[in-house]
């Protein structure tokens, strides 16, 4: 094993060591914890750069489990997909680590926060470099755990604790499907590797659709697609850097990344791809519609994240994995940026999250204003910003495959522009609408720096000079220039219409102009679940309680005890305590057995 492959393992070991060190030794020293955690992330980032430049190679794989036909390896795959993803995860992660040093301020649990952040970095990087299903699943669950820990970081707040549980449970459902899919894959191929050549094992098999959909379940949970999306808005209870890192830039995108990794499975089934594309499209639309009526700045961003993830999933469903990954990268930049901006606002407004109580912040917080502006433009798809390019790529690819989804996506793009303008106008423009907003001031430098860096990438991330798209591979060679231009013009028009309507409708408004209860109440998903799932659960619980009480409790437990005690009372008669009668019975029994065997032989 040479040095460069050892270095590759450091990529994972650095955050692991950091998490362990902080948890074990550095709990009482928050400042040191910060330094260690940020340092570990920086090391990972440097190694990621080394990987991207090709100077660090894939390490020798380690056989982790080798039982019979099951071989699970711990290894790393450095292909174009993971190289880009590594850079995004570690880069954005580093920025957010630095930002957290400012944001977490004097929180008493800072050490714990940074330990959990490091744990998250470990698990996320593990997913990215995973060479096989089991390794990915392992880190997949670790991501879930660290997400759970971080959402519930302020666990003394009941809402945060509940949100953490909700996120965990929703992910559990998805992960269960994912696990079933993995088992199915193993049954088909006898291997767990991400190896496209394995697809010959199940090519054309009728069950391949089911397998693809089961694997997709993991993505539905992790990437908050309908119907398991309900946890993501609630996850905003966590600290804002967490929302930025986990619930916007990286973890939720892991679902999409996973879909791209296993695309060789998905592409075997047209129906599965269809389902995936429609799930993504509908999620994008529903989330965008919901976002137009929310008041909480972080929730708007959360729904926007969902919507953009829907976009990516839709792209994967349309066989445009590279477009999906491209959008994933740009989205990671600008959505992290937006969240950091929101965090910056919350930081100075003493955690006032209602956008109707903000306003006029552009004068008070010029840096936040500027970076947030760039983020909004990128998300809204204003030409010249990164989001524009990646979104257009997706729309082009989808348009080629499914016209209906194309219009749906286009409409969603318009909605995105609309609600982002609404958010922006209400937050930064007009007059301050509350006491705290009037006394706002700029955030500290440690928070400003990451925002500036991220806004730079949000601005230029889409340019071909930066080469994210090129690094992933070419996307749409076949597409004619005219069709490309058509899509571009359409999306610009729609985007500008959205921006225009949003700006016009909400400029200097004090309260909501028109209320759509359906959107306001998030399409009643929570209520629907409460009605159906909870009722069902209550019913099931009742049935099981009855079973437990009468069949198990009364029948099996007490019944068997009763039988045993009756039997004991009966057998007690024979237990005279007289050695000689025991000897008699013993001798007679032995003799009887002897006779029996001799006669029968």
């Amino acid at each position: 094993m040479n040095t460069s492959s050892l270095l590759a393992w450091v990529l994972l070991l650095a955050p692991l060591l950091s998490a362990f060190m902080i948890w074990a030794f550095l709990k009482p020293f928050p400042f040191l914890s910060q330094i260690v955690s940020v340092g570990a992330c920086a090391i990972s980032f440097l190694i990621a750069i080394g990987v991207a430049l090709g100077s660090i190679h894939e390490p020798v794989t380690i056989n982790w489990i080798d039982i019979g036909g099951l071989t699970v390896q711990l290894g790393m795959v450095f292909d174009s997909l993971s190289k880009v993803m590594l850079l995004v995860v570690t880069g954005v992660g580093l920025m957010i680590h630095i930002y957290s040093m400012g944001y977490m301020g004097e929180d008493p649990g800072r050490s714990r926060f940074f330990a959990e952040l490091s744990l998250f970095m470990l698990s996320m990087l593990g997913i990215v470099v995973a060479t096989n299903f089991i390794m990915m699943y392992l880190f997949w669950e670790l991501v879930g755990v660290s997400s759970y820990l971080l959402i519930g970081f302020w666990f003394e707040k009941p809402s945060a604790a509940n949100a953490a549980t909700k996120a965990f449970l929703a992910n559990r459902i998805g992960d269960f499907g994912f696990l079933l899919g993995i088992i199915m894959f193993w049954t088909f191929t006898g291997s767990l590797m991400f190896d496209p050549s394995l697809s010959s094992y199940f090519k054309g098999h009728p069950l391949v659709t089911i397998m693809a959909l089961l694997l997709f379940c993991g993505c539905v949970g992790k990437s908050a697609q309908i119907p398991l999306h309900v946890w993501l808005p609630d996850a905003m209870e966590g600290p804002t850097p967490v929302s930025a890192l986990i619930h916007a830039a990286t973890m939720v995108a892991a679902g999409v990344y996973m879909l791209c990794r296993i695309f060789f499975v998905l592409e075997q089934s047209e129906q599965a791809l269809e389902v995936i594309a429609w799930t993504g499209g509908i999620t994008a639309l529903v989330a965008a519609l919901t976002a137009t009526q929310q008041d909480d700045i972080k929730r708007i961003l959360a729904y926007s994240t969902m919507s953009q993830l829907g976009y990516m999933v839709m792209a994967v469903g349309s066989s445009a994995t590279i477009a999906a990954m491209f959008h994933l990268c740009t989205h990671a930049f600008f959505k992290a940026l937006l969240f950091l901006g929101a965090g910056s606002i919350l930081h100075v407004l003493h955690h006032e999250q209602d956008i109707w109580k903000m306003g006029g912040l552009w004068k008070k917080m010029p840096l936040t204003f500027l970076t947030f502006f760039i983020g909004t433009c990128a998300l809204a798809g204003v030409p010249g910003f990164s989001g524009f390019y990646s979104k257009d790529t997706i729309l082009e690819m989808v348009g080629e495959k499914n016209k209906m989804l194309f219009w749906l996506g286009l409409f969603t793009a318009g909605l995105t522009a609309f609600y982002m303008t609404r958010l922006f106008v209400l937050t930064f423009m007009g007059a301050p609408k509350s006491e705290v907003a009037e006394h706002a001031h700029e955030s500290p430098f440690v928070m400003g720096l990451p925002m500036v860096v991220l806004s730079f990438f949000a601005l230029v991330g889409g340019y071909s000079v930066v080469g994210i798209e090129k690094a992933l591979g070419t996307t749409h060679e076949a597409m004619s220039q005219a069709a490309k231009l058509n899509v571009m013009i359409l999306s610009v028009l729609v985007g500008l219409t959205g921006v225009g309507i949003g700006a016009f409708a909400y400029w200097n408004k004090q309260k909501e102009i028109v209320i759509f209860p359906l959107f306001k109440n998030k399409f009643y998903f929570d209520e629907l679940y409460e009605l159906t799932l909870l009722k069902l659960q209550q019913l099931l619980a009742g049935v099981f309680a009855w079973l437990d009480e009468w069949i198990i409790g009364f029948g099996i437990v007490r019944g068997s005890a009763f039988l045993v005690s009756v039997g004991g009372e009966l057998l007690r008669v024979f237990q005279t305590g007289n050695i000689r009668s025991y000897a008699f019975i013993f001798g007679a029994g032995a003799a009887a057995i002897l006779v029996f065997f001799l006669i029968s032989s």
Partner: protein
Amino acid sequence: MENFFFWTFVLTMIGSGIGVIANKNPVASAMNLVLMIISIAGLFVLLGAYFLAAVQVLVYAGAVMVLFLFIIMLLDLKAEQQANFRMLGIIGGLLTVLLLGIGFFLAGKNITSLVGKMGIVIQNNSIKALGELLFGNYALAFEAVGVLLLISMIGVIILSKKDLD
């Protein structure tokens, strides 16, 4: 000559065996047991197991029986007062013995048909061969038995202590 000794020893053995269980006085029972053990030692001699015959007399008739008598004296056991046998006991005992007899009879039929080399005389130097076997093949078992004796000795000492809780 051999036949004469065989029948003498066997009859003495059975007679004194019955004497052990029929005597009311424990000391008489013990004496009958000594007689039985000695006649078995005689049978061992007839079978060519000279070493075992010696061990039988030394260990059983010498050590074990002395221990029995010592305990009987120590506890000062009297002859049993009440009737020794109860009807149920006799029936049960006879039944068991009968069943066992049937078993042995059947087993004997099977075994004698298995052993074809009846009457082959064992090699003369059997004690030496036995010693080689004991300290060769069975050396480990021999040591284990030694340890067992040690442990039983310790156990007896502990059990015999006056303040046994």
